[in-house]
């Protein structure tokens, strides 16, 4: 919240000095997902006035994209959502002649992302991360014993373990297409299976641990982990690291840890794309190219603690981050990561319905 305030104050003071009215750019990005000075630097360099809005769920972004006329020039959907939105015709093809900084991107990661966007025609990797477990080191040790090794989904999916943690607060992401596959993976099933029985089994596991879950939310846990209001959260890597940083900042005695569980975790890419009806596609290309500047991307990674897809930026990223296996997984951990897949409408509905059953018992 404080960060947002500073940002909006910074934006406000800059906006008065900004240039002509049509020289505007509207960016819609995830909450807590950019360095404090990125926008200011872009405005200073280009003279384009930026309006920066945030969301905390792909679903909200998707509703805007599918409605059309969102007014945004750059948005940052996650890879599987991007794929569906491309299919619906929501994005324009990038004009790569306007994106000279593309050479900085890691070819392997871009090839991974091409699975969702063939030929990387519509989108560029902004950041990527994993969906793992954030936890309050002391609170967990207090309840499970100091020698309990936190390295597995057991922490949230094993009823014997999670029941011991329920009193200090266990939370799940409100993201059915991430939670149910994680449960399936824990059961030894293919996390990308669309088989109804497999999905039901995954949901059944979640239902079993449901009584020990405090809430299902995709951003609240950042503050709550940092404040010690909850102690275990299935969460997105960088968000958990932000909780860690906030706890350090507040010096409140809370120590937050993050693991990519040994059974594996979801790897996702958040991709910058330009809506087909963007009011200012030219400025949008400038913005995407600006973000791909090695120093700018490195600044963002240094601030939000998410891995980026920009090979040239890595030497500029803090050692503390590049050597953190929770952010840049080891080769061994990488072998267990899985990528999300786009589901057909029927599977989507089944997953959402199962999710409602998990959450409400109905």
């Amino acid at each position: 919240m404080k960060k947002l305030l500073i940002l909006s104050v910074a934006l406000g003071s800059l906006s008065s000095a900004a240039a002509a009215q049509n020289n505007e750019l509207h960016v819609y990005n995830w909450s807590d997902y950019i360095a404090e000075d990125t926008i200011a630097k872009f405005e200073a360099e280009t003279g384009i006035k930026v309006t920066y809005d945030v969301y905390d769920s792909n679903e909200v972004l998707e509703a805007k994209m599918l409605t059309g006329n969102s007014g945004y020039d750059v948005v940052v959907p996650t890879s599987d959502f991007l794929q569906r939105q491309i299919a619906a015709g929501a994005y324009m093809k990038l004009d790569k002649s306007k994106l000279p900084n593309l050479v900085n991107m890691d070819p392997d990661l871009m090839a991974n992302a091409a699975a969702y966007d063939p030929g990387n025609e519509h989108a560029v990797i902004y950041m990527w991360g994993t969906t793992g477990i954030g936890y309050d080191v002391n609170a967990v040790a207090e309840r499970l014993g100091a020698d309990y090794v936190v390295d597995s989904w057991d922490l949230v999916f094993n009823p014997d373990v999670v029941s011991k943690l329920a009193d200090c607060g266990v939370t799940f992401l409100n993201a059915p297409t991430e939670m149910i596959p994680a449960a399936m993976n824990y059961l030894g099933l293919d996390p990308n299976s669309t088989n109804k029985d497999d999905l039901e089994k995954g949901a059944a596991l979640l239902e079993k641990v449901r009584p020990h879950i405090r809430y299902f939310h995709s951003s609240q846990y950042i503050n709550d982990l940092a404040n010690g209001d909850v102690c275990v959260s299935v969460g997105w890597s960088g968000d958990v690291f932000q909780a860690q940083a906030r706890a350090d900042e507040a010096d409140n005695g809370v120590e937050v840890g993050y693991i990519i569980p040994k059974e594996g975790a979801l790897q996702w890419f958040d991709m910058m794309a330009i809506p087909v009806d963007a009011p200012n596609p030219d400025a949008a290309h400038k913005f995407i190219n600006f973000i791909m500047d090695p120093q700018i991307t490195a600044d963002i990674t240094n601030y939000v603690w998410y891995a980026n897809g920009n090979a040239a930026s890595l030497p500029l990223v803090d050692e503390e981050i590049t050597s953190n296996p929770g952010i840049f997984p080891t080769e061994e951990a990488k072998a267990h990561l899985w990528a999300s897949k786009v589901y057909d409408a029927r599977t989507d509905r089944l997953i959402t319905r199962l999710w409602t059953r998990v959450k409400t018992g109905q």
Binding site: L66, A88, R214, D229, T356
Partner: protein
């Protein structure tokens, strides 16, 4: 439409209407009525028809994410109405349960707001005239802050490390923090808090108009205060009770923000279900069907109520 009538001063409004309609003579009357009608048409009927149209469509991966219900090709107009969305709602007990729980939460919230609001309205109405406006302003004052901020304030009060828990812990009354956030309790607190003024204001405007000589007469005839309240005050304030209850009950049924922010995952309300259909399932047709059914669920009882209250409804 009985509610507004009690809040506004009917006398003054009536005079104004008479003056205006005087200007326009006979035809003007229609014109004056036409303005609210046009308003309703534009901001209620048209959106309702759009939602109705979408509810008869079929979801698709497209922009917007549903298929058009009519198709004009080679001079042939094909109309395809998909009733499957409504059928789908009937087949899955989830929706029925969500409607029932929404009605239940709305019902108990209304009762709670009435129990808290009635004494407050009564005290304000009986207070010395110079104090009344001040007290009324105190009731309305919270509206000057954003509704969202007020709900966030409740999060700060109710959460595990929040104000209430910290006070109780430091006083030694409890040893483990109470879990209040993400429970139905928090939802009731948030809803009753938010909607209380909507209960107090119509109650106040009814109570303040009651003729004091009625109470004196009752007392002269030997009635005790409780009897006076039960057999004089309460029956005479029924219009205010009904108006206040409607103003609380109807919006609470469709509440989304309060249960989303304060409620637990098992607080199943139709507003949240609508969100899920619209955003998570990106199934606009089913979401629209949910909304249409909600409207019917709400409109029918209100119409029945108006019918049983012909005098009040006319007023």
């Amino acid at each position: 439409m009985s509610m507004q009538a009690h809040i506004a001063e009917p006398g003054r409004a009536g005079k104004w209407v008479r003056t205006v309609s005087g200007w326009f003579a006979g035809r003007g009357r229609t014109l004056v009525i036409a303005i609210p009608m046009l308003w309703l048409l534009l901001f209620f009927l048209v959106p309702f028809l759009v939602v109705g149209k979408i509810s008869l469509s079929e979801a698709a991966i497209a922009r917007p994410p549903y298929l058009p219900i009519w198709n004009f090709e080679d001079g042939i107009l094909t109309l395809s109405l998909n009733l499957g969305n409504f059928q789908f709602l009937a087949e899955d007990s989830l929706y029925f349960n969500a409607y029932v729980q929404s009605l239940q939460i709305a019902f108990f919230s209304t009762i709670l707001a009435l129990l808290i609001g009635y004494p407050m309205a009564y005290v304000i109405a009986r207070a010395p005239a110079r104090l009344r406006n001040l007290l009324l302003m105190l009731v309305i004052l919270p509206f000057w802050t954003s509704f969202l901020l007020r709900i966030y304030a409740w999060i700060g009060i109710l959460k595990t490390n929040g104000v209430i828990n910290n006070i109780l812990l430091s006083l030694g009354i409890i040893h483990e923090p109470l879990v209040m956030m993400q429970t139905n309790f928090a939802v009731y607190v948030g809803i009753v808090y938010t909607y209380l003024p909507f209960m107090i204001l119509p109650l106040y405007s009814t109570l303040v108009k009651l003729d004091e000589s009625l109470f004196e007469a009752a007392a002269d005839l030997g009635a005790r205060p409780l009897t006076i309240f039960l057999s004089v005050t309460l029956p005479l304030s029924v219009p205010g009770i009904i108006a206040g209850s409607m103003l609380v009950f109807i919006p609470v049924v469709g509440e989304f923000v309060t249960p989303e922010l304060l409620g637990g995952p098992d607080t199943l309300m139709i507003g949240r279900q609508l969100w899920t259909e619209f955003f998570a399932n990106r199934d606009w047709p089913v979401a629209s069907a949910v909304a249409i059914v909600m409207l019917i669920v709400l409109v029918l009882p209100v119409m029945l109520l108006q019918r049983t209250q012909p005098d009040e409804a006319g007023g």
